[in-house]
Amino acid sequence: MSRSRPVLPYRVLPDEFVLASPDGWNVVVDGKSVGQLQDGTAFPAWDAKLSFTLEREFRIERDIADELQIDNSENCCEFVVTASSGGGITRDTLFTQPVSATGCSCVEVMLTPASARLARDLVLTSGIYLTRDISPEDPLAPKIAGSRLWEMTERVRLEGGAARLPMYEVPFSQFFPGDAVAQADFHVEIVGDPDLEIETALTVYVNSERPEFIAELNRQGSAAEQRLWNGVIRRVLTSAILTDEILTVSPGEGSSLAATVQRWARYIWPTTPFDRLGDLPLSEYSKYEAQIESWLHSMGTGADKGGSK
């Protein structure tokens, strides 16, 4: 669970001040509970036509006015849930309810995100905010409308309609003419922009002209599946090491290309500085390959298909 932690110029409510129901967001479809969504998990049943409601209870455990040292506190706070999607490209307020600044209270949140306005991810920010300007005597008390008093942000991956890591079945002879890969089983392409989310930066193609490979790939746990994901990770790592930039930039978002590749590299070469990794394939190529292979075997399937390991 991630929480915004800006250094604010006024007193705020501690994280534990509000207790969110621990099971996460209850997903309701056609009046029936179909599962729970928690921070960092996926919502595989989602698609752009799904009508669903999210429900959750938040308990405010203590007295807000007392905690923040605000007086004249009537009707000054509200509980709000906003939803952003598409990597933050759009944001809507889905739930607003006044909360009392005095005493304990319970907020039963029920919100209905419009599936047609969602893609890729759903980031829910629940918070308590000041609704109006107030004039408390305490100089450290919040004063202006919109002041962030308590916030909690959770991200859920929307996986319906597309695999998290794009994988396309295409005829290599037509899709990559002149690249001499027509007989390859799979191919990986990477955009060299380290800040892009991994599902945008990385594309896996499997060759529809290799039907035996595809057929085996479709069997979960098959050797073909393991070879594919091992190959994807090897190629991404090697590309990153050879291009240098992906390993030397600040990793940024946890799901970015740079963050994912740096995480993999740190697992395999925990003591080697990133700027020295480029030497490995040049000096001891076989050892470099063996080190990657060893890590992949230690991971069991060798697959971190979405890069969230």
Binding site: L8, G87, I89, T90, A116, S147, A162, F175, V191, L196
Partner: protein
């Protein structure tokens, strides 16, 4: 739901590598020769038909021709092209989930209408930044216009629906829309437009806009704009412009 073709960004960037050396006429033929470069989401709808895609291309070409295509034209011509495309894309029947994917706009820019991208963006050396074909939405030639339309739309019932889109220069648009913590909420974008146009024209300097957007980002760190009612939001944005004007000694 109609699924639009997608072109993964790595493939798109590989393809545009030689676009700099190709003529507009040559690029115009890309749609016919790259028919196989159409990838769709594996589930969730029905792939859009070729007839609709061809119609889209014709519409975009007609806007370009209205603005002087294939002649190089002036900056004003290219700005006018952007306006026409923005108005058109605002009402394009494309599902949100398709439109927010950079891969969708990459397909449009790299396969459907690369000649228009090159015409719109090429410098004197014929070079076009690959981002205009295959960058994030806010950089893609067409994706950025769709996003602008979404963020700056004052509503179909408004007397001047595209007032802010027209009054913002390219620099202002970038300064606002490339900051998702502001731009993701249309109400914030509209408040910025309102405050900007309330300033005397002589004060509307690019530096003022840029610095105010930075100030708003800082302010948003402790004041959640999303929860403000309309009047309070307008006031917060207007105050930020005023403070920045004083700081920049604009009077």
């Amino acid at each position: 739901m109609k699924l639009w073709p997608r072109l993964p960004l790595p493939r798109a960037k590989a393809l545009v590598g030689d676009y700099g050396n190709r003529s507009l006429e040559d690029l115009q033929g890309t749609f016919a020769t790259n028919a196989s470069l159409k990838l769709f989401a594996p589930t969730g709808g029905v792939p859009i038909d070729d007839k609709t895609l061809r119609k889209l291309r014709l519409e975009l070409e007609s806007f370009a021709q209205e603005c002087g295509y294939p002649e190089t034209g002036s900056k004003k011509d290219r700005t006018h092209f952007d306006e026409l495309v923005l108005h058109f894309l605002a009402d394009l029947p494309i599902d949100f989930g398709e439109a927010i994917r950079p891969e969708t706009w990459a397909w449009i820019a790299v396969v459907l209408a690369p000649h228009l991208v090159k015409w719109r963006w090429m410098g004197s050396d014929g070079h076009v930044s690959p981002e205009r074909y295959a960058g994030p939405i806010v950089r893609n030639s067409f994706g950025r216009l769709w996003y602008q339309a979404m963020a700056l739309d004052r509503g179909v019932d408004s007397a001047n629906r595209w007032l802010y889109a027209e009054e913002f220069g390219a620099d202002q648009t970038v300064a606002l829309l490339e900051r998702p913590s502001l731009a993701a909420n249309r109400a914030v974008c509209l408040a910025v437009g309102k405050a900007w146009l309330a300033l005397p024209p002589a004060h509307r300097k690019e530096e003022l806009f840029r610095q105010t957007m930075k100030a708003l980002i800082v302010r948003a760190g402790f004041q959640r704009f999303d929860v403000l009612e309309s009047r309070a939001l307008d006031q917060a944005v207007s105050d930020s412009f005023s403070v920045t004007m004083r700081r920049l000694r604009i009077s």
